[in-house]
């Protein structure tokens, strides 16, 4: 990972963590605030329901007072105190009275607890009122909850009881209003809140009913509580205490509702009091969830935008910070590639500017040193060349000088042997001049190395051809015996190369090895191949080379031999380079010498390398 990317990641991570932390804090705080608001709203609604309940109870009590005080009811009470009371005349009195006073339930009950008239179940005349014992004690008291049995089901109502005392036998008026859809609909609920009423009819699931005022009366519904609420209802039925729970209606959290369940208990003296119903105050969590989602979405947007902005700013900042470093790195890579003229632009006045200045100073110093070194090497090369030339030319020139002096002396003396001397001297002069021409042609030949003419060449065949050429010299009795160890990889495939140049290069190496073993030894030639290259090793068991000699051995005109021109290995290197290959030497004094040549299999590489190396060679020669 680059320095710029690391810097960018650090910046982005920092911003992301900051935004996430802020978002989490906002979400947590808003959730707590909403939960608090939910609790307050639910508490307010429960209080409102209780207030409405009390108000309705007072209204029921007032109406019951009015009924008890009405003249028809007084007459009925009077009739019931007759010696032979006839209740049949009043069997429908409750219905009309209930209609007049807008009551859902109304019963006239005699002092024995027998129903005289019932508005909500007219057919029940003559039957005993089941709860008469407890109801009679509720006379003149406030309203209370009571479950009233109807013909098909049971209903929960807000009841009051009044007694009519017009004689020895009182008549009781038991009436009330139904806790039903209308009652719940009358509650003034805040938006998002609703009230459900569950009527508890015992364990018979078939008689369960849930009154939901938000549903239309015409809408067919089973009145069975949904499974989500059923568990809450069951919990209330078990412990008979107020409970709050969240009901999940669907996988969407926005549909969740917070229900506050209030058990509605009867007035029985039994302990615990019977559970008549459960008021379920529902508070939709949609607004909260939607706001939370909005906050989260906003946080994501802000966070995303922040991160994006941070990335942009970080990129800019990182680029600003790393650009000088990158320039330095680029310049260093150029230097490594050989461009010692690489310079870094200096901007600013900071540490990086100082570093760039130091780098530029370093490259300048390096370039200066290099130029000095090149000049020194060039001088050394020229000196070596001059020495070689002097040495090479001195040897033929000295005989030439002696021969010419002998010839001049013979001519001055008029010697009779002048003719013989002249012939011998002429022959000597011609031989030495030929020798000089040979020296010059070798130098000329090195300077005019031909470009390789590529064709598919089997390396092993070239090696065998070279050895066949030198076979006679290797077995010459005039010198030490040299054995030849040939280890050729038979799986080598032909490579594109110039066979003549290869032959010449290998011949030079073999000749060099032979010269290195004047007392005899072992000459080894090994070939092997891999996917990209083939490799040739030429080893001898001669005296070996020093490290200094190894470093300079491919330098033109450098030689460690007394009569060498210093061009043999230079030619070998030139040929190998022209084929896109490399040559290296492994040697230690007394351990022999091994030359390793690697040539590429790939023609493209060969072509490029060849051209490059040819260009380098040409450049080098031109420079020389």
């Amino acid at each position: 990972m680059t320095f710029r990317r690391k810097l960018l990641a650090v910046f982005a991570l920092t911003v992301f963590l900051s935004v996430a932390t802020v978002g989490w804090l906002v979400s947590t705080l808003s959730r707590r605030a909403f939960e608090l608001a939910d609790d307050e709203r639910t508490s307010a609604l429960v209080t409102q329901f209780r207030h409405e309940f009390n108000r309705q109870g007072e209204e029921v009590s007032r109406r019951m007072e009015a009924i008890a005080a009405s003249e028809p009811v007084a007459r009925m009470g009077l009739a019931m105190n007759n010696r032979a009371p006839d209740s049949a005349a009043y069997f429908d009195a409750a219905k009309s009275t209930a209609e007049n006073y807008q009551l859902d339930f109304l019963e006239f009950v005699d002092s024995q607890g027998t129903i005289i008239s019932s508005a909500h179940w007219p057919a029940k005349f003559g039957y005993p009122e089941p709860a008469f014992a407890s109801l009679s004690s509720m006379a003149e008291k406030g309203a209370f909850l009571k479950q009233e049995e109807l013909q098909d089901n049971a209903a929960l109502g807000l009841f009051a009881v009044r007694a009519i005392h017009v004689g020895e036998h009182p008549v009781y008026v038991i009436g009330g209003r139904r806790l039903d859809r209308d009652f719940l609909s009358a509650l003034d609920l805040p938006a998002g809140m609703r009230v459900l009423l569950y009527l508890n009819h015992g364990d018979h699931s078939g008689s369960e009913s849930l009154i939901n005022p938000s549903r239309s009366a015409e809408t067919p519904e089973t009145n069975r509580p949904a499974d989500q609420i059923a568990s809450l209802i069951e919990a209330i039925r078990q412990n008979n205490q107020e409970t709050t729970a969240i009901v999940h209606w669907s996988s969407d959290r926005a549909d969740d509702e917070l229900f506050h369940a209030i058990p509605l208990q009867g007035t029985s003296n039994a302990s615990p009091k019977p559970l008549l119903g459960i008021l379920l105050v529902g508070n939709s969590r949609r607004s909260y969830v939607e706001l939370e989602r909005r906050i989260r979405t906003t946080a994501f947007l802000v966070g995303g935008s922040g991160i994006l902005l941070a990335i942009l700013l970080s990129s800019w900042a990182a680029a600003r910070v790393t650009r000088p470093v990158e320039r330095l790195a680029g310049a260093a890579q150029e230097v490594a590639a050989g461009n010692w003229n690489a310079r870094v632009e200096i901007s600013g006045n900071d540490e990086l500017a100082e570093l760039a200045e130091s780098f530029n100073h370093m490259t300048r110093e390096l370039l200066t040193q290099k130029e000095r070194l090149v000049q020194a090497e060039r001088v050394a090369a020229w000196r070596e060349l001059a020495r070689r030339l002097a040495h090479e030319l001195k040897n033929p020139l000295f005989p030439l000088q002696l021969t010419v002096e002998n010839l001049v002396r013979a001519r001055q003396q008029g010697s009779e042997q002048f003719e013989e001397i002249f012939r011998e001297s002429s022959a000597t002069l011609l031989a030495e001049i030929s020798n000089l021409k040979t020296i010059i042609s070798r130098f000329n030949e090195f300077s005019r190395m031909p470009r390789p003419q590529l064709q598919l060449v089997q390396m092993n065949d070239v090696i065998r051809g070279v050895l066949q050429l030198f076979q006679a010299q290797l077995e010459s009795p005039g010198r030490g015996q040299i054995s030849c160890d040939l280890q050729l990889d038979q799986r080598l495939e032909p490579i594109p190369a110039d066979p003549e140049l290869l032959h010449r290069a290998i011949s030079n190496l073999v000749l060099n090895a032979m010269e290195a073993m004047p007392e005899g030894g072992r000459l080894s030639l090994r070939t092997r191949g891999n996917k990209d290259n083939i490799c040739l090793e030429v080893s001898d068991t001669g005296a070996g080379l020093t490290a200094e000699e190894c470093n300079r051995i491919f330098t033109p005109y450098y030689t460690s031999k007394e009569h060498g021109t210093g061009l043999g290995l230079a030619i070998v290197q030139s040929v190998v380079s022209d084929h896109g290959g490399t040559i290296r030497v492994h040697s230690e004094p007394g351990q022999g010498t091994t030359f390793v040549i690697e040539l590429p299999r790939n023609p493209d590489t060969l072509q490029d390398g060849s051209e490059k190396n040819q260009a380098e060679t040409i450049s080098s020669i031109a420079a020389e």
């Binding site: 069997f91 057919a123 029940k124 013909q151």
Partner: protein, 461 residues
């Protein structure tokens, strides 16, 4: 001074006396408006689409006559037939027709017309005209044929080619709006004599409350009254006239009982109903609790059938059955008392563990029905109930009370019918309607009724 003092007193007393006599002496004229709840759409006596309801019975006998008539004691009397005679075996009857009786269009009543009319009403009968009589031949012994001829469907009607219909009754049709209104005008040449009333307007399809409102406002002179209304109206001083208990309120099972368990449950239902309480409260003391089809006044053995609830027996019957079905009980939503009756019966049934579900649907397991007995003849009444209730009525096999009892027992043994109450037909009449009466079978006696001069003059104005 003394002469002048007592002379006006004498004169005014004479005037008042004359007026008083005038108010008690029948007088012709006036229009009587009657309201009924039923709404028949046809006046043809032989139209089998119309049920043999009391209203139809009364309308028919205002326009048409039957060969025989029946009095309140159940005795068959002469009407268009002056005498009759049965051949041995009671399968062949000869009825001698009254002479010089004319239809309301002036045509003479002939045996051929009568025979044609009876054949139309009773396709299975062989009716042959004779010189001054007709001969009716039945496939089976028909000892009650004279009483059967009193039924409205056997009224003698002359069907004209223009679709109109005429009879020999005291009124002829002046205007007929099927199901809505019937206007009858007095028949001047009625063989029984002209009725006192000029016009009788009968409004149909009026509910009981509207009828009472019309009566109280003086718009209507005669209205029907339900059993539960009777007590209150009577207490308010209205003039009520009732027939003998002539209508049967009963529970009618739609299907026969298919299993012993169901028979036990039907038995339990029959004995669990507290008829006395219902009569006392819902029916306001009107009618009689009934466990028999025929009322006691008609059969004479009605008391044999116990009407008191036997809850223990009902529970024993019910406990022998493991699975208790929920029976739906249908009732007429237009019947003001039917719902209360059904709810009370359901309450009684619940006390013994039976489950009844009141419903106004037409498709129910059983229904609360009102069955008109129509005739004061017990055999005719029993047959009519069986026909209306679609119960199998077997061969009479005799004409004695024992035969009647066996026939009724056979009907009850089907367990299709649970009798509950016998109710009279009750009418409330305005004070200006005089000499109006109701027969034991609920038939109107309008032929002798007349309106006071106050009402008559008021109509003229």
């Amino acid at each position: 001074m003394k002469l002048f003092a007592w002379q006006p007193l004498v004169i005014s007393s004479l005037v008042l006396a004359v007026l008083a006599v005038a108010e008690t002496r029948p007088q012709y004229g006036g229009t009587l408006r009657v309201s009924i709840r039923e709404a028949p759409t046809s006046l043809d006596p032989a139209d089998s689409r119309e049920a043999d309801l009391l209203a139809r019975h009364n309308l028919t006998l205002l326009i048409f006559d039957t060969l025989t008539d029946i009095d309140d004691a159940g005795n068959v009397r002469a009407a268009l037939a002056t005498s009759w005679q049965a051949a041995p075996g009671n399968q062949r009857w000869q009825f001698r027709l009254r002479r010089n009786v004319k239809f309301q269009d002036g045509m003479l009543l002939t045996p051929a017309t009568v025979a044609s009319c009876l054949r139309t009403a009773n396709p299975s009968w062989r009716v042959l005209p004779d010189a001054d009589s007709i001969v009716i031949e039945r496939d089976a012994p028909a000892p009650n044929l004279p009483a059967e001829l009193t039924l409205p469907r056997n009224a003698i009607a002359k069907r004209n080619r223009d679709g109109t219909i005429t009879g020999t009754g005291p009124f002829h049709i002046a205007d007929w709006q099927p199901g809505k209104k019937l206007t009858l005008a007095a028949e001047e040449n009625c063989w029984r004599g002209r009725p006192f009333l000029d016009i009788v307007e009968i409004e149909m399809g009026r509910n009981f409350r509207d009828q009472l409102v019309g009566l109280e406002l003086g718009r209507t002179g005669l209205v029907e009254v339900t059993a539960e209304q009777a007590h209150r109206i009577s207490a308010q001083g209205a003039r009520l006239t009732s027939s003998a208990p002539i209508e049967l309120i009963a529970l009618l099972f739609v299907h026969d009982s298919h299993s012993p368990e169901e028979k036990l449950l039907r038995d339990a239902l029959a004995v669990c109903v507290d008829r006395a309480s219902i009569r006392s409260v819902l029916l306001q003391g009107t009618g009689e609790p009934a466990a028999s089809i025929l009322p006691n006044w008609m059969s004479g053995y009605g008391f044999v059938f116990p009407t008191q609830p036997d809850l223990q027996q009902a529970r024993r019957d019910r406990e022998q059955v493991h699975t208790i079905p929920v029976w739906t009980v249908g009732y007429d939503a237009n019947d003001s008392i039917a719902r209360l009756l059904v709810e009370r019966i359901a309450l009684n049934a619940r006390d013994v563990g039976l489950s009844l579900q009141p419903s106004t649907s037409r498709s129910t397991d059983l229904r609360l029905v009102r069955l008109s007995i129509v005739s004061t003849d017990p055999w005719i009444g029993l047959a009519n109930v069986a026909t209306v209730a679609n119960l199998p009525i077997g061969d009479a096999g005799g004409n004695s009370v024992q035969d009647l009892y066996r026939a009724e027992q056979a009907l009850l043994a089907t367990q299709r019918l649970i009798p509950l109450f016998h109710l009279p037909a009750t009418y409330a009449s305005a004070k200006f309607l005089r000499d109006w009466s109701v027969g034991a079978d609920g038939s109107w006696r309008l032929a002798d009724a007349w309106l006071t001069s106050e009402k008559t003059n008021g109509d003229k104005r």
